[in-house]
Amino acid sequence: VIDMIEKEDPVISEEEAAQYDRQIRLWGLDAQKRLRGSRVLLAGLGGLGAEVAKNLILAGVKGLTLLDHEQVSEESCRAQFLVPVTAQGQNRAKASLERAQNLNPMVKVHADPDRIEDKPDDFFLQFDAVCLTGCSRDLMIRVDQLCSKHNIKVFCGDVYGYYGYMFCNLGQAHNYVEEKPKVVKPSGESNDGPKAKKAKVDPNETTMVKKTASFCTLKEALAVDWTSEKAKAGLKRTPVDYFLLQVLLKFRTDKGRDPDPQSFPEDSQLLRQIRDDVLESLSLNSDLLNDDFISYCFSEMSPVCAVVGGVLGQEVVKALSQRDAPHRNFFFFDGRKGNGVVDYFGPN
């Protein structure tokens, strides 16, 4: 009930107006108010997680819970900017808390050191949106299923070296508005003579158009059948990144971790093997995804985290504020080519 009141709270403080001025001028006051009433769960405070945390905190959500059971390693200090270099051995969520909170004191930031696997179902229900990074495929599928049943927006994302992706499930009927320019028809009459113009309407006046988009589950998105003729025909226009993602998710499931530069030779070999297995299991040609990716998918690259975290963060903002068309339903980034594509995978 408190949340509803705050979402409806008409008053925006002077402090908020001053701080959020430049973004209110972009997405409007209504959107800002909805953000201000939204609670988000962010799982995983690696490189990508830190970027998403920063973006959501700066945007002015009501609350952000940082959930991460991992300990700060030497690598974590270099990978993300919320963890002080002196925090080795500490829990990653807790170590990130202070700097995260300082980004915007108006947001309630909370750190939770638990394993996400151990969280009961109703833990997730307190949030308006859930964002999963560094999670296994099965876990993501499970959480996605649970949350979408309760109208909670679900986002997933990861960065593997130069590559990254984002997925979202905003439910079967996600409502949003789009701002379109207003078309003004001049009327024929006038007091000032037959050719005098009517009072000019500001050419910048716009109107809000209501729209709806529907999304499938992560399970459906990852279980696309490629054996049909139609699917095979569409392969040419299908970003190969989708298959790369399947490979990397399988690696994560099999090894319990992502490819590690310290184990470069073994992990490269395994990646090649998994690539073959995955493509075979999908009845696809093994040359669909060539070997190039192998040496470029290790570790989380900071600039790639920035790009994917920027896109992902903005999608969360859009979904919570219900403004502007969401990307449906995957975004893939290839940092070597500078390519960023949005594509839909799932049942038609």
Partner: protein, 608 residues
């Protein structure tokens, strides 16, 4: 066997940790960029910014907190970034990159320069410095949801100035003074009025009715007759606006009646103007005061600034702000001048009130203070995520450069929505340098049309060589066999020439001038074309007239919008983000763009 350090090949990781890079600007893009550089492993970074931190920066310039407001951006950015990697070497300069101290030798220290700027003048300057030093430059810009990144390498790619950029949008004087048709015209008028009353008076910023408006005359002779008539005609032209105001003690009601009643009534006598336009309706202070309706009591359910008042509300705002500004002026003493600043409440109130009253007079819907501030203050909406994406792309391009893979560098556009090929990020191949570029060609040359009898040396220096052609400290000599020096970069040396006309020096049709900027290591040959018929001060031959940008594709529109936030392009651009669906471009039509959304800065009057 490939050796990795984190995500990177060992050779690349090594060169990153030793090379020196320069970041120009520590604002929206700059903060994100510094963070990315440090985390990627860059150890030697220099950052320069002349600005200090403002509260409105805090929604995205995340290296700054509330406690830092007022401090140097470069300095605080350095301190915050060091926290991410205390062993990095970061040098901060609270200074302008256009300071002559940052000469070619300075630039040569770096393997890579990355711009994170918000204005065209600085971008032009850094472009030239990097050409002179032959250092690769990564240029970038953002505006709302849009952004772009590109790479500039001397001899290999287009430079920042190879493609003409749409010039600053200007409005003719008669539109501002006589026949405004859009809110922006009224806002520009109000800013001029501020300067005429409280600030530095400028002959190009007249606010009184323009009697010499060619549109007002039924026949050409009449224009001249009107002009001379008004000279004899009491207070329209003979006394300056400031003098007149002073003579009335800045009486707000007298001011109101002159500006919003008497001057409007004068405009109405110029009846030809109103044959095809809706005529303005004058306001009367006392009439408005007496017919004031009691306010409806509903409290504001949004930002106070987003309310649109009624006419009487703006009358009161006008009165109140005039009184406050009058006191400010008095406090400053004799000969004082105020400088308009969007963040100074009475100055902003004044423009809001005056612009709205004028809008109402000319039958336009009035605007909230929030909207007026956007237009008057050239505010570009900005968010953290767009800057984060662009800064990430900058580093990725930087890595290609440091790996010696310049051919793989691209211009990358960030769209708001995916294009028809599903691309949200659109990489484009870089174009080679333009053979006719007036900056990077081997012997740059331009032709300028002007009237040698009417163009002063000062105009040549300020409006043409500096503003239009981007020189900072020019030396100009005439190619007359004698090397006559017209303009010297040494202060005071050629001041005496300022108010002389070009023809006084024997400059005529076909004359050639050599302009040099020593700091930029740049020489430009200017061919003079004498032209009698001029309604603009000058025109660069080979370009569309400076008011109308060439017709553009969607993607080019994106570029011009993300170009230089402090400069102007579309003054009436909505403050809200606009949807641009870019499409893939072949190499030729990619513009090199720069930073944030262009909007009106100082809108210039094009003189007649």
């Amino acid at each position: 066997m490939v050796q990795l350090v984190g995500s990177l090949r060992k050779e690349l990781a090594d060169s990153i940790s030793t090379c020196k890079v320069l970041v120009v600007g520590a604002g929206g893009i700059g903060c994100e960029l510094l963070k990315n550089l440090v985390l990627t492993g860059f150890k030697n970074i220099e950052v320069i910014d002349l600005d200090t931190i403002d509260v409105s920066n805090l929604n995205r310039q995340f290296l700054f907190q509330k406690k830092h407001v007022g401090k140097s951006k470069a300095q605080v950015a350095k301190e915050s970034a060091l926290q991410f990697c205390p062993s990095a070497n970061i040098t901060a300069y609270h200074d302008s990159i256009m300071n002559p101290e940052y000469n070619v030798e300075f630039f040569r220290k770096f393997m890579l320069v990355m711009n994170a700027l918000d204005n065209r003048a600085a971008r032009n300057h850094v472009n030239r410095m990097c050409l002179a030093a032959d250092i690769p430059l990564i240029e970038s810009g953002t505006a709302g949801y849009l952004g772009q990144v590109t790479v500039i390498k001397k001899g290999m790619t287009e430079c920042y100035e190879c493609q003409p950029k749409p010039a600053q949008k200007t409005f003719p004087g008669c539109t501002i003074r006589n026949t405004p048709s859009e809110p922006i015209h009224c806002i520009v008028w109000a800013k001029y009025l501020f300067n005429q009353l409280f600030g530095e008076e400028d002959a190009d910023q007249e606010v009184s009715p323009d009697t010499a408006d060619p549109e007002a005359a039924w026949n050409p002779e009449e224009t001249a007759a009107r002009a001379t008539a008004s000279d004899k005609d009491g207070d329209i032209k003979r006394v300056s606006t400031k003098e007149w105001a002073r003579s009335t003690g800045y009486d707000s009601v007298k001011l109101f009646n002159k500006l919003f009643k008497d001057d409007i009534m004068y405009l109405l006598t110029m009846d030809k103007l109103w044959k095809k336009r809706k005529a303005p309706t004058p306001l009367d202070w006392h009439q408005l005061e007496n017919s004031e309706c009691p306010k409806e009591g509903t409290p504001a359910s949004g930002l106070k600034d987003q309310q649109v008042l009624d006419v009487w509300g703006y009358c009161q705002l006008f009165q109140h702000s005039v009184e406050t500004l009058r006191s400010q002026l008095q406090e400053k003493g004799e000969g004082a001048e105020l400088v308009w600043d969007k963040d100074d409440p009475p100055a902003m109130d004044f423009v809001t009130a005056a612009a709205n009253l004028r809008m109402h007079i000319f039958s336009m819907n009035m605007k909230s203070r929030f909207d007026v501030k956007s237009m008057a203050g050239n505010i570009i909406p900005a968010i953290a995520t767009t800057n984060a994406v662009i800064a990430g792309l900058i580093v990725l391009e930087g890595l290609k450069i440091l790996s010696g893979e310049l051919e793989s560098c691209r211009t990358i556009f960030l769209n708001k929505c995916p294009n028809l090929r599903k691309k949200l990020l659109v990489p484009c191949v870089l174009d080679p340098p333009s053979a006719n570029c007036y900056v990077c060609a081997s012997k740059p040359e331009v032709t300028v049309k002007l009237n040698v009898h009417k163009t002063m040396v000062l105009t040549l220096q300020d409006k043409i060589v500096k503003e239009r052609f981007g020189m900072v400290a020019p030396d100009v000599q005439i190619e007359d066999g004698k090397g006559t020096i017209l303009i010297s970069s040494e202060e005071g040396e050629t001041e005496g020439n300022n108010n002389k006309f070009l023809s006084d020096f024997g400059i005529r049709n076909g004359s050639r001038l050599q302009a040099d900027d020593f700091l930029q290591d740049y020489t430009l040959l200017i061919n003079v074309l004498h032209d009698l018929e001029r309604d603009v001060e000058f025109e660069v031959v080979g370009e569309a007239p400076d008011k109308a940008p060439p017709p553009q594709t969607n993607q080019e529109e994106v570029n011009s919008i993300t170009n230089g936030n402090k400069d102007s392009a579309q003054p009436s651009t909505s403050s809200k983000g606009q949807h641009r669906s870019g499409h893939d471009l072949t190499s030729h039509s990619c513009y090199i763009s720069a930073k944030r959304l262009s909007s009106v800065s100082e809108v210039e009057l094009s003189s007649r």
